[in-house]
Symmetry: C2
Subunit: 426 residues, 2 copies
Amino acid sequence: MVEVRRPISISDAVSRVMNYEFNQAIDYVPLLESDLRFLAEDLLADHDVPPFNRAPYDGYAIRSEDTSQASRQNPTRLHVVGDIGAGSLYTDDLENGQAVRIMTGAQMPSQSDAVVMLEEIHTNEADMVTIIRPHHHNENISFQGEDTKKDQVLIEKGAIIHPGTVALLATFGYDIVPVFRKPRIGILATGSELLDVHEPLQPGKIRNSNAYMAASQVKRAGGIPVMYGKLPDELDACVDVVTDALQEVDAMITTGGASVGDYDLVPQLVERLHATTLFNKVAMRPGSVTTVAEKDGQLIYGLSGNPGACYVGFELFVRPLIRKALGARDLHLKRSIGVLDSDYPKPNPYTRLIRGVALEREGVQYVKPSGLDKSSSVIALGEADVLIVLPAGSKGYKRGEEVNLLDLHDQKGSQWPWDIPIVSYK
Amino acid sequence: MVEVRRPISISDAVSRVMNYEFNQAIDYVPLLESDLRFLAEDLLADHDVPPFNRAPYDGYAIRSEDTSQASRQNPTRLHVVGDIGAGSLYTDDLENGQAVRIMTGAQMPSQSDAVVMLEEIHTNEADMVTIIRPHHHNENISFQGEDTKKDQVLIEKGAIIHPGTVALLATFGYDIVPVFRKPRIGILATGSELLDVHEPLQPGKIRNSNAYMAASQVKRAGGIPVMYGKLPDELDACVDVVTDALQEVDAMITTGGASVGDYDLVPQLVERLHATTLFNKVAMRPGSVTTVAEKDGQLIYGLSGNPGACYVGFELFVRPLIRKALGARDLHLKRSIGVLDSDYPKPNPYTRLIRGVALEREGVQYVKPSGLDKSSSVIALGEADVLIVLPAGSKGYKRGEEVNLLDLHDQKGSQWPWDIPIVSYK
């Protein structure tokens, strides 16, 4: 009656998922809509930056040789022959004895080789400026190409687009930006106990929170959630919905029914779909009964109905697939090291991933579990910033021990956080 | 000719901005559209969690007293009288000698007081189960209210909505979520040197990158950018656009023309608008010529035309105002401590905010400047994660010294990072 499942390691489970991939596609979006998308091509400089020698300050463009004898006692007087605002040009050659008023960012006149800052102009009369120290060749000039050269790769494809990226895209003329298409992830909640969010509570029932939570996780990861509602624990209906959904989405998530009880649908669903099980048990808590199966190159996730287990299963196994579709370089949750701020006495034969809150004090990141550490607790999810990774072992953990953390809100990611050295626990 | 401006400290400048506030308003949005908005009301539990005593595992609900003599040699046999899926109920009282098959999450039958896990059932025959050890009163039960009690405040207003928050909102019936309205921030780029992003380069000109960058910063901070395009350095046109814009937006940003050159519009713009200058110089680099003025309760920001200075001015002075409108609790960029990974030899009379890249090694956050450290460098913005805060001083900084960092991509924020102890530099 009880199906025997063989648990595999988290690392092995993630590897099996990452063997599958979406067909990456490219969208071309307006620059103003490109935030938080992932670049689908290398960002190239289409010109030198600066594009010409320019003034870094407001002042006067001069020929430095004119000032070689300048001093407070023996000021050099130059004739102001022009006035260049940013964006306009002085088209003549600058001659000896001449100066041109120049604004920050404006192009240096031909034959000029230094800028005297406005604040350094000693006296000021109509058409004349007075300079009281020598200026050297190339003083106060921003040189063409000193920031970057034409055709240089400035940002590699796969980078997430932030305001700084937008500045570069605008500078180099990307009014339309090539980005990887967001994968569409279907979500179906199963369970006869589920009410809609707007329904009043009824005896024995709870509201469907997992589907909405997973939708929010899909969005945070960079995908598009496609909602297939909720179904009672009826196999035929679930088979129909998932079969249809697989025509419309890149991958499918079900929540609930992932365990081994009589009503648990996922094993039967996998069988009826003629899908191949990648794994149906992972040596971790929560989420040990997570199932992932594959049908014709598409992945079907059977996440647990417990909110904590569903949440963790998503972040470990769905998020990196979405990131892969997006062309991201660092596919997994960002790993860092923290210090436990409270004892965690429970030993466990499986690796624990505890929802936690991080707080920095004097350069050290301290963490403690948020709320009740039970997979069924939704409260712990409300304030969690990190997953605290506690490797399997026969004793608990003590305050002050170093632990690995996985950052839930970060957008940057880690390459492969699963070869985790066990920091302070053997 | 050169206007004399008195610089004020960053802390003072931020304080002056924060004395002004938007009129906060509330939007009611569908749960599926509430991600990254800020809660406008405390999130209340509308019921106990769990809402009833329930089974945490698949198994059998029993009366524990029936098993008091149970052992491998002397198993207790119980009669299975019912079968409860999650969401269904067993409506009779459980009597001595009886057991009810129960699924994870289902409500315990009246008079039952323990759950025997499915894996612990020793033998199995039709309608009978055999139990081989005593179970104690209340063993394996998730109790009503153990996770949270009805009417408890679970998340305070002002919190940003993440997937964990969404799970709580769904659990407690918030199909429509009250969130603070996003403030609208107008953006106008000024400068006769500016080309549109789609235009080919021309001599002496550059493309308008600041307006797009600022729009992306507004979005990252949680506001709505309203684009007013770009204008050449012509005062009348700028006065008209800003005057009209102030009718449509909550605050207005201009970029460019913030300096003291002949073509710099901001001082004249402030005068023509009859606005009151809060400050027009800040003791920081880049961004020292940032101007903020107030007219009839609305703020007008004159940010520098240099990309780096514009970026920093936004993050320090615009972002916290947006966060205030959003009801956030921690209005400023999140501060943490890092270790310089390269020398920074330049001394400066002003505090420097250097665009930097952070990399964790063995629990320590190392940082170094990204790209060229010049305010005109757009390249440095592409990869920056943090601003490295180097307080004013007469010598530079050395690799290995501790410094304060402001995290650019974080959504959580800090309360008031500006009373910064100078960590390793006097």
